[in-house]
Symmetry: C2
Subunit: 227 residues, 2 copies
């Protein structure tokens, strides 16, 4: 259960302040599959970073399963993320000097899993996104959509309680997009809460609920009929 | 007029060789507006990099307006690109320690235009993509779609003869996507040849001709009826 109560967040830019999240109230229950849509610059990635305990906020409260997530030390925040969250970044954030399989295995390294075992599991997840043959490629030796799929495989590998995906099909053709969403639906059926930021309606139609962000506020929050 | 004759290109990966472009024959006439579609990993970005004189190829010939583009020195290649080409990269390639307006102005710096003048022109192009107020932001202080629009503005600023855009709307919501494609159509009406790699059908439907790439070969090349 993720609960945001009157969340405000601003960024400092030079001497100015940019007010990006302007009082967000949001509840996402365990096992829900929701999408977040909205124009470029409306605050979607910022909102996802708050949910993902990757960034703080200025006022309001964020409860993750009744635990208040506020002013956490980086050590405590990292511990939450590693144990409970999977995150697909809008710009993938792959480590450029590590191979695809090493990138996917990284969350298991943080969980202190031995190298041979974590590379074996990582190869299974690469295979799941169709990239077993690219295990030894560096990110710079991968296409845009391949990099995105490596980021997706990495986010799945710890079987997180909550999956946060920022435009996970942005670089993918429609066939590969459907395969990725099918993977997210299958982990959702197994109990993972899934939150997808997307600007594609075909993707949001595959989720149970669509939250519309506009200028830093939720302007609409509707269940999808019959999915 | 861009003419590719039996172009082959492979990448070395460790001890192996990955054959990516497997005999590409393609002619794009002056002032055409074409899209290139195909699955993730099919070779679209590689093909665009060859057209954009950003990368070489192993066999065949590439003629840019009857000039053979083969084995060029980096100096000569850069001179062609700066004078004739605009390129929107799939991962934007913005300079992280320069502001949005400085990034957009960069091609004019290469053309030796004075700083005040090039920043003035750059601001006009930023305004055209809706980002005048973000001129002083660094790329890390921009949303994904804002970074993409800065990359687009930068590609337009030299009024190139040929515009090559790799998934230029991948990070944009539908409204902003339409605005970007409208900008590309307007420069096309002014005579610029436009080549767009996209995986979105709504985008390809706005071009005159759709080229389908599959496993490194052109499997289909059709004119769009009535656009
Ligand atoms: N520098 C490189 N070294 C080795 N292999 C590479 C390199 N760059 C790309 N590749 C490989 O070449 C193939 C084609 O890549 P390319 O980037 O052209 O695909 P694409 O059609 O643009 O895909 P996407 O839609 O995912 O962006 C892929 O299998 C990729 O792994
Ligand atoms: N580090 C930062 N410093 C200053 N401003 C920022 C920073 N990161 C984001 N912003 C600004 O905050 C606003 C919201 O950004 P955000 O990345 O959340 O948008 P978004 O909805 O994800 O957009 P997109 O669809 O383009 O990815 C934008 O106006 C952006 O310029
Ligand atoms: Mg974003
Ligand atoms: Mg590509």
């Amino acid at each position: 259960m993720l609960r945001l109560a009157d969340i405000n967040k601003s960024y400092a830019v030079g001497a100015n302040k940019l007010h990006v999240l302007k009082g967000i109230d949001l509840e996402i229950g365990d096992g829900e599959m929701v999408s977040i849509m909205g124009p470029s610059g409306s605050g979607k990635s910022t909102l996802l970073n708050v949910l993902g305990i990757l960034d703080g906020y200025d006022s309001g409260e964020y409860y993750f399963d009744e635990t208040l997530i506020k002013g956490l030390s980086e050590t405590k925040a990292a511990s939450y993320r590693n144990r409970l969250l999977g995150f697909v970044f809008q710009s993938f954030n792959l480590i450029p000097f590590k191979t695809a399989v090493e990138n996917v295995a990284l969350p298991l390294y943080y969980q202190k899993i031995a190298r041979r075992r974590r590379n074996k599991i990582a190869l299974e997840y690469l295979d799941r996104v169709g990239l077993a043959d690219w295990a030894g490629h560096l990110p710079g030796e991968l296409s845009g959509g391949q990099q995105q799929r490596v980021a997706i495989a990495r986010s799945l590998i710890t079987k997180p309680k909550v999956m946060l995906a920022d435009e996970p099909t942005g670089a993918l053709d429609s066939q590969t997009s459907r395969e990725v969403i099918e993977i997210l639906r299958s982990i959702n059926r197994e109990g993972t809460t899934v939150v997808i930021v997307t600007h594609e309606h075909e993707i949001s139609e595959m989720t149970d609920r669509v939250i519309h962000l506009l200028d830093g506020v939720i302007e609409r929050d509707k269940n999808n009929g019959g999915s």
